[in-house]
């Protein structure tokens, strides 16, 4: 889902001229992602929706002043984050974002259960190899892998992730943002971005594996 720079420039020009189709194109492209991102900071969907709408108001107000130092996309999402944080601070129930990032990147937990690997029983054994090979999903019936039901399980696995991991995998693997864009938008380090993505993907893979095993046994 990459926007070429040329089409972003055209979109911007049309927007500044009050072209409603251009605005529709823009919100069709980004609105659901904005709401999804806002839910990390907001308490419920209604609040997230308000933050997203506030963001569009901010975008329109800031249109003439936008100098294109970042992409239009990054700019819009940065406005969202700022709005969401401000609102989150007012609703003191929300945990600060930095605390969430810490909690989700801290411990050195393995992403694959250690009991799937051989543990050395004496100093001469190296251990660490798979006790049983992961299954080759290419051997599964394609219709099943690509089915709606698989999609539902995938969505459920993502929804079950802790909030920042959920956002990182959504922004990267669903919305197509680059690692750099995600780091800029969420204001997290490259290392943390990778740790969060790593943990999120591993959990989703595991959920899929579990689902395939159960549904095909």
């Amino acid at each position: 889902m990459q926007t070429s720079l040329a089409s972003e420039a055209d979109l911007l020009t049309a927007l500044r001229q009050g072209n409603e189709d251009a605005f529709q194109t823009l919100f069709d492209k980004y609105h659901t992602s904005l709401v999804r991102l806002a839910t990390v900071y907001a308490n419920d969907r209604a609040a997230a929706e308000e933050v997203a709408q506030d963001t569009w108001i901010g975008v329109l107000k800031g249109l003439n002043g936008f100098q294109g130092r970042s992409s239009l996309k990054t700019w819009i999402f940065t406005i969202l984050i700022n709005r969401a944080k401000t609102r989150g601070q007012r609703d003191s129930r929300s945990l600060p974002f930095s605390a969430l990032v810490s909690a989700e990147t801290e411990s050195d937990e393995p992403t694959v259960s250690p009991d799937r690997f051989a543990q050395p029983h004496d100093p001469l054994e190296t251990g660490g190899h798979w006790l049983q090979s992961p299954r080759n999903w290419e051997e599964l019936p394609e219709a099943h892998v690509l089915s709606q039901e698989t999609g539902q399980h995938l969505k459920a696995a993502i929804a079950a992730l802790p909030p920042v991991q959920r956002q990182v995998i959504t922004l990267r693997d669903i919305d197509g943002f680059s690692a750099e864009e995600v780091c800029n938008i969420l204001e997290i380090s490259e290392t943390n971005q990778r740790v969060l993505l790593h943990r999120a993907r591993a959990k989703v893979r595991q959920a899929l594996e579990h689902y395939f095993e159960e549904s095909l046994s």
Partner: protein
């Protein structure tokens, strides 16, 4: 001479590998292990498939009331700013 990777170590490096964040030395160790280990190749393939399937999830469409609200925001802005 660096020690070869175990499977258990490899699975924790997989995201760094995809992101191009491994040092050349670590990348060599990673690929060396992979070339000799069908189990890890299966795991890598599962991970690639997971990423691909995730990428195919279609975003939900914007509910009509929200679309209407967004358009009225735009029209307000247009009336107040451009006219």
């Amino acid at each position: 001479m660096t020690t070869p990777l175990t499977c258990q170590e490899l699975v924790e490096l997989i995201t760094d590998y995809f992101e191009g964040a491994l040092s050349p030395a670590d990348r060599a160790r990673f690929e060396d292990h992979l070339s000799a280990c069908t189990a890890c190749r299966s795991y890598l393939s599962q991970m690639r498939q997971t990423i691909k399937l995730t990428g195919q999830l279609t975003p939900e469409s914007i509910p009509l009331p929200e679309q209407t609200e967004l358009l009225s925001i735009f029209r307000d802005w247009k009336n107040n700013t451009l006219n």
